[in-house]
């Protein structure tokens, strides 16, 4: 069964999300099935049009675009949290699946982890 890595912290303000992404890429590199769940303020990772050159950080958009190539199975986003942050479907990065993050979701995975 697959691992679920959860990102619930917003991008750029802290490094926890980047380190969660590294965990997911690392699992994929070892051919371990892995998906990413964005929830809470973490859904802001998925907004189109980020320009973090203004604060001299690298765009997480590019990292996420590479996720399928590296073998990450799915990018999941909690629908309620997307609504909360005004993220309509057309503002979401390509390849994101909107789900309802409830207790049922966890049963699809053998492991679930946060980066911090």
């Amino acid at each position: 069964m697959s691992t679920l890595i959860v990102i619930d912290q917003p991008p750029y303000g802290s490094w926890a999300g980047r380190e969660a992404l590294d965990m997911a890429f690392s699992l994929a590199a070892f051919d371990q099935p892995v998906s990413l769940l964005f929830c809470g303020a973490g859904v802001n990772w998925l907004r189109k049009g980020q320009e973090p050159g203004t604060i001299r950080q690298k765009s997480v958009e590019k990292n996420l675009a590479a996720a399928p190539i590296f073998g990450v199975e799915a990018l999941l986003a909690d629908g309620d949290d997307c609504n909360r942050y005004g993220l309509e479907a057309e503002q979401l990065l390509d390849g994101v699946t909107v789900v309802q993050a409830d207790s049922q979701l966890f049963t699809n995975y053998s492991h679930t982890a946060f980066a911090g």
Binding site: D102, S103, T107, F114
Partner: protein, 93 residues
């Protein structure tokens, strides 16, 4: 001995967004173990947790917390270890 589907280890105070999310995502066959700052949410969790509620004794004593303890199992580290071996999955929030 009760089997637990998923053991949720919750170390955040009830003000932290992960506290409410953990409670809402824990199912009725799950266990929720409050440790560290999480013990401050004992009252809140007693009222809302759908799974089995547990709380780590040393962290409770450190903080002088006991309100809401009647609805939770008070455990030590030995029991915490045992719970992690009994549960199908362990999630640290």
């Amino acid at each position: 001995m009760t089997e637990i589907q998923t053991l949720h280890i919750l170390n955040k105070s009830p003000e932290h967004p992960r506290f409410a999310r953990c409670l809402s995502m824990a199912g009725p066959e799950d266990g929720i173990l409050l440790i560290e700052n999480g013990v401050l949410g004992l009252g809140a969790a007693s009222a809302r947790a759908s799974g089995k509620l547990m709380v780590l004794a040393p962290d409770m004593a450190a903080r002088g917390v006991n309100g809401g303890a009647e609805s939770a199992e008070i455990i030590d580290y030995e029991r915490m270890v045992e719970l992690t071996t009994r549960a199908q999955q362990v999630i640290s929030w």
